[in-house]
Symmetry: C2
Subunit: 334 residues, 2 copies
């Protein structure tokens, strides 16, 4: 019989469908071929800097801004979902509530190479990508309208990206998303019920249980969560209790880059260059000081499809057992 499991960070339920469960090795796939290192039509490839809005950050030794020579580059999104401006709120016909699409939307280009996927970069490049994300987080936090920064990466068409060149996105929103409010409420309730942080307790519980642990470093615990929503969903939990990604030290940011590279390398070794999303769940700015929220990074390989049941109920059906996939991934050599 299946199990219905609760995600303690959201109180949402997940069905672990053991009846139709696949074994971990059933997910194994040969690696897809990589694209070329340079693509003439790609606006993120070096030499094409004038095809993007002017950069807001770049790590380069020589050369002028918006020219080649960089190894990490951050630009405003040319097709931004939200742009700087004034917040205007209104209620059409006294019923339809809306506001202007004010905010920031930036793109971080991981490296000049079109085909250098995260598992294959050098550790120092992984570190610098995280340092750049942190630097821009702190800059976006200064925007007077911004309430939170959503940090994510889409890799591959099934993960919703149209641009192949490896990149991250950061969106500063003028509202606090409802789903984040709920995470905060769940963490607050847990704190008040238990006198401690839910993610800190999860780190402790998963370390003790061992069976869902993929890897542990001095700074992070990597797990397949108890209530995984999809096969090989992986969480990178910082051990240091911090509400937001903006609060990490330079060393912690670098450590995150290294463990993320190792984690994605393991996922690539099993799933063969899968499409995937990376998502950081980080606190709204105004809740950073409350001592309740604890940020973390989710890796979501897109090996299953959200269907009508998930859309209608919010309950995901997962056909893999995290207790089986975690040891499998732990033992993969990279």
């Amino acid at each position: 019989m299946s199990e219905i499991r609760q995600d303690v960070t959201t109180n949402e339920w997940v069905i672990i469908a053991t009846e139709r469960a696949k074994r971990p090795h059933d997910f194994k796939k040969e690696a897809k071929a990589l694209p070329p290192e340079f693509v003439e039509k790609c606006p993120f490839c070096p030499g094409h800097e004038d095809q993007t809005p002017p950069e807001v950050l770049a790590y380069r030794k020589d050369g002028r801004p918006n020219g080649p020579g960089w190894w990490v580059r951050v630009i405003p999104n040319k097709f931004a979902a939200l742009v700087p401006g004034e917040v205007e709120r209104s209620i059409e016909d006294g019923f339809f509530r809306k506001m202007s699409g004010v905010g920031r939307h930036e793109v971080l280009i991981e490296s000049p190479k079109h085909n250098l996927y995260f598992p294959f970069i050098e550790d120092h490049q992984a570190e610098e990508i995280m340092l750049a994300l942190r630097e821009r987080y702190l800059a976006l936090q200064q925007d007077p309208h911004a309430k939170v920064v959503i940090i994510f990466k889409n890799h591959g068409a099934a993960a919703g990206t149209s641009l192949e060149h490896p990149h991250w996105q950061m969106v500063a929103t003028p509202i606090v998303p409802q789903s984040l409010r709920r995470r905060l409420a769940a963490a607050t309730r847990y704190f008040d019920d238990n006198g401690g942080c839910v993610l800190c307790d999860m780190v402790q519980m998963e370390r003790a249980a061992k069976k869902r642990v993929v890897e542990e470093t001095p700074e992070h615990l990597v797990i397949h969560p108890f209530a995984s929503r999809s096969p090989f969903e992986t969480w990178i939990l910082p051990k240091h209790d911090q509400a937001s990604f903006g609060q990490v030290s330079l060393d912690e940011a670098k450590a995150l880059g290294r463990i993320l590279r190792r984690t994605l390398a393991k996922i690539f070794a099993i799933l063969g260059n899968p499409d995937y999303n990376l998502v950081m769940h980080t606190a709204p700015f105004q809740d950073e000081a409350k001592g309740v929220f604890h940020w973390y990074l989710r890796v979501i390989p897109r090996v299953s499809t959200m269907a009508g049941f998930e859309i209608g109920s919010g309950i995901f059906i997962n056909t893999a057992l995290p207790e089986e996939t975690a040891p499998f991934m732990r033992e993969i050599s990279i």
Copy 2:
């Protein structure tokens, strides 16, 4: 500049990204080829009734149960996410909450023909599919552990189906999904603030505004909602204020079949046999009598992909304006 719009049924926000918006005719596609009428390997094709669990309902004139001769057939799902049994709840290590996967999971096969898609069926067949769904809803409601029935349809691989033969699914869950609790809470709060039903008010407001109306019948209003999450998302709103699909009369069920057929025919005419999900949002059994919830049917063509931003924030970015797609769809002749 984009607009951030609030869905009054959930209080969730949606970004209508006008900067990168496509025009309605940009979505136009040629129809994909249909599969054959009969597929030897399909367990839902007639003559293969012994490849499924025994039927729980079938509309047929002659012939024995679990043989051919039916025109609508309902069976338990062979790979059920939830199955009948006893509810057992536990908390592993005092932290990880779970329960047994108890419930019901049924499949409704729309017709014996493998390639008879909903827009092309006769009205009487569309009516009978709805009558069968209603009949099974009322049967599932008798299950002592069931709290709600999730009714949905997945059409096409991008919508999460592995079986091509047109079918619906019904899952009776032993829990009330959090997302449904939130819909109920939003409706209750609206009722208490405004002294009326939010969906009834939406019907009235959309009829007055006209610009997002696709079609109106005596029983239903078809709209592209103000806070559409994806292009051509279509809601079929029953005008009669009822909490659940199980409360519809036989005539109302038949009318739903007819308007759904017309709606999908329009979507097919524009998007060319797209993959799509149908989802009914219907009240938990124990809230049916409260007079707050109002069920409705959502049609979600899968023309966009959920990416990291949506996963991380719960905020969808929609690149089409419902005020443009609704008139376009209204004027399509079928």
